[in-house]
């Protein structure tokens, strides 16, 4: 029982990281209609930035917050000067652009910080506390809480503020939004900036566990994409729930299903995905198909 609870909490923590990247992908998709395959790569860059700020002697929390702010700006600039050029082009072209961006960012990180593993300190103590007889690590619990908190904030932003309303309006119908006086270009930049900032938080929280390399989040991106499909891209809540589900299930499968084990647990979301796809093509919670025609 103790192991089980521990596995569930660890799974929720990793699931939160997948969920944050997935949510960032949803954020970008809802405002621009594209899938950003570089979302993980951008988060890695953010983690390296935090690492660098740390090296300047700043406290960890300050370094992370600075990198989140910087990531917001970088995300906005990427939208303005790269993605804007490809707006209205075929969606396969846009995907290739983000893949090119991923390659470029990986290259930049590798060039500036090398391809060696770097140790990134954790915000949370490495100790554990006992709950219902299970030893639960502060890191997992803290990661889960931090990302869950940010998701609540985002939900509030989108549902309760004028900025959130404007972002949703632009995502819905760019022309009507501009005719109503909304500064569409600036809002698209904000959307990308928010997604990048969200990724930055996820990157900083997961870097201690995965250790920092340019390809650190390649696998996480794959989990996040699976969560996006499973949850349904129109449903931010669904995507996060799917990400938690994936995190918990893969952890349990790794331990309790010998054929899968730790090395093949990445297959879990895709086994799940195949089953769901055949039964419910719109995803677990989504309304429409993943992408409009």
């Amino acid at each position: 029982m103790g192991t089980f609870i521990q596995l569930v909490v660890d799974g929720l923590a990793m699931g939160s990281v997948y969920g944050a990247i997935a949510l960032a992908i949803v954020l970008v998709n809802q405002s621009t209609g594209m899938i950003n395959f570089a979302q993980g790569g951008m988060a890695v860059l953010s983690a390296y930035l935090a690492f660098t700020f740390l090296g300047l002697g700043l406290p960890l929390i300050v370094a992370i917050l600075l990198s989140v702010a910087a990531s917001f700006i970088i995300g906005a600039l990427i939208e303005r000067f790269l993605m804007r050029r490809f707006m209205g082009r075929a969606e396969d072209t846009q995907v290739v652009v983000t893949v090119g961006l991923l390659t470029l960012l990986t290259g930049i990180c590798g060039w500036l910080w090398s391809y060696n593993n770097l140790q990134f300190p954790s915000l949370f103590p490495s100790s554990a506390f006992t709950f219902l007889g299970a030893a639960i690590s502060w890191r997992s619990f803290g990661t889960f809480l931090a990302i869950a908190g940010i998701m609540v904030l985002l939900q509030l932003l989108f549902r309760q503020t004028k900025l959130g309303l404007a972002l949703r309006a632009v995502a819905d119908n760019r022309q009507s939004a501009s005719f109503a006086g909304l500064p569409v270009g600036r809002l698209l930049m904000v959307g990308w900036g928010l997604a990048a900032a969200l990724g930055a938080v996820a990157g900083a929280l997961v870097a201690p566990r995965l250790s920092l390399t340019p390809g650190m989040l390649d696998t996480t991106l794959v989990y996040a994409l699976a969560a996006v499909i499973l949850g349904g891209i129109t449903s931010p809540v669904g995507v996060v729930v799917a990400a938690w589900l994936i995190g918990v299930l893969e952890n349990l499968a790794a331990v309790y299903v010998p054929i899968i084990g730790h090395d093949l647990k990445i297959a879990v979301p895709f086994i799940l995905l195949f089953v769901v796809l055949l039964l419910r093509p719109q995803g677990l919670f989504g309304r429409k198909t993943v992408v409009r025609v």
Binding site: V96, V99, L104, G107, S114, V222, L225, L278, V291
Partner: protein, 370 residues
């Protein structure tokens, strides 16, 4: 294709001669060139076939696949396994094509259901799952160590060296693959692929099921990937989980775009790019490889979206524009005929209200009421 017959370059005789010269050169070349060059040429052939397969699903059908390297790897493993177990080489080849095809079919049946970008989102998982899977199935794959299979030594009767024999195998099998795909994309299937790529709604209205053609294109792409895997074993004679690593899949995609999406010649250029550019960047600055590749890919997307294969067309349009600048000026047809009755004839601008890619359904909503 859509161009006018402009001069010698476009006449069928000239093109036939050109093709003949190319074939003769390709056949004679390995007899004259040093071993490493032959090996490099053979590797180019291998990856040109892999890019060709990717072009079927992505360039022609418009569905991004990030998993093409998986099918190359699968084909290579099947080949190695078959050779190890003493199968007849024809059977090995068949298995190396059919097994990736079946796996591709299953993947596509599920992924294509979601439409659009879901294929990209699912296929990215193939190499990422493929690597640990290959390590796990060590009885069959040799695990992390990998597996080698020597079956492509030159037979004595040929009098050829190994590198020459391997080159010819790649040339023959790769050449046939190119011809088959060339025929496929020029025929009615190719037309259907293109319509699916342009506009799925229109395809549906024309009785072309986007789902079915995406599955078909993906399956063919997987089979061609299997062929390239077989050829990979012919040339490299060794495969390991690294063969199907994620970053190779991205490089393959980059090679396709740089070569030219939706272009047969582009696939060949893509093969050249895939093999030569990493060699080059590795020599210049190994730590910059990924950075340079990403930069090249984005640069091509910015300035030459049709890839290198479109360069002649772009250049021709440029030069054509400067020499033929006067005729379009006299073209506006409505200037000459001021119609007093506005209702029946449709003016030249049929859908001014929306972007040019709107499906025809919206254009026909409005109707005059004379």
């Amino acid at each position: 294709m859509g161009a006018q017959k402009t001069g010698l370059l476009r006449t069928p005789w000239f093109q036939l001669t050109l093709a003949l010269v190319a074939v003769v050169l390709l056949v004679v070349a390995p007899l004259l060139l040093p071993i490493p060059v032959n090996q490099t040429l053979a590797r180019i052939g291998v990856f040109a076939v892999a890019v060709l397969g990717l072009n079927v699903i992505m360039g022609y059908t418009g569905q991004v696949s990030l998993g093409q390297i998986f099918f190359l790897g699968l084909g290579a493993y099947v080949t190695a396994y078959g050779v190890e177990n003493g199968w007849n080489i024809a059977l090995v080849f068949l298995a190396a094509v059919v097994i990736p095809g079946v796996v591709g079919l299953i993947v596509a049946l599920a992924a294509a259901r979601l439409g659009g970008l879901a294929i990209a989102m699912v296929t990215i998982a193939l190499p990422i799952i493929g690597v640990p899977l290959a390590k796990r199935l060590s009885d069959v794959t040799g695990g992390s160590q990998g597996i080698s299979a020597r079956f492509s030594s030159a037979p004595d009767w040929t009098g050829l060296a190994n590198d020459q024999w391997q080159y010819y195998l790649v040339l023959a099998i790769g050449g046939i693959s190119f011809l088959l795909v060339f025929n496929l994309v020029r025929g009615k299937y190719g037309r259907a692929f293109r319509i699916v790529k342009e506009n799925e709604a229109v395809a549906g209205a024309m009785g072309i099921s986007p789902y079915r053609y995406k599955v078909l294109a993906f399956t063919i792409a997987s089979m061609v990937g299997g062929v390239s895997g077989f050829l990979y074993m012919v040339v490299v004679q060794y495969t390991s989980p690294e063969t199907l690593a994620f970053h190779h899949s991205i490089s393959l995609l980059a090679a396709m775009v740089v070569g030219g999406a939706g272009s047969i010649i582009g696939s060949l250029i893509g093969g050249i790019y895939y093999v030569l550019v990493p060699n080059f960047t590795n020599e210049v600055a190994p730590t910059l490889t990924s950075l340079i590749q990403g930069a090249i890919l984005l640069l091509v997307l910015f300035i030459l979206p049709g890839g290198i294969a479109s360069l002649p067309r772009v250049l021709r349009r440029w030069t054509g524009r400067s020499s033929r600048s006067s005729p379009p000026a006299s073209s506006p047809p409505e200037a000459s005929a001021p119609s007093s009755d506005p209702s029946p004839s449709t003016p030249p601008n049929t859908s001014p209200s929306t972007s040019s890619t709107t499906p025809p359904s919206t254009a026909s909503v409005k109707e005059d009421s004379p």
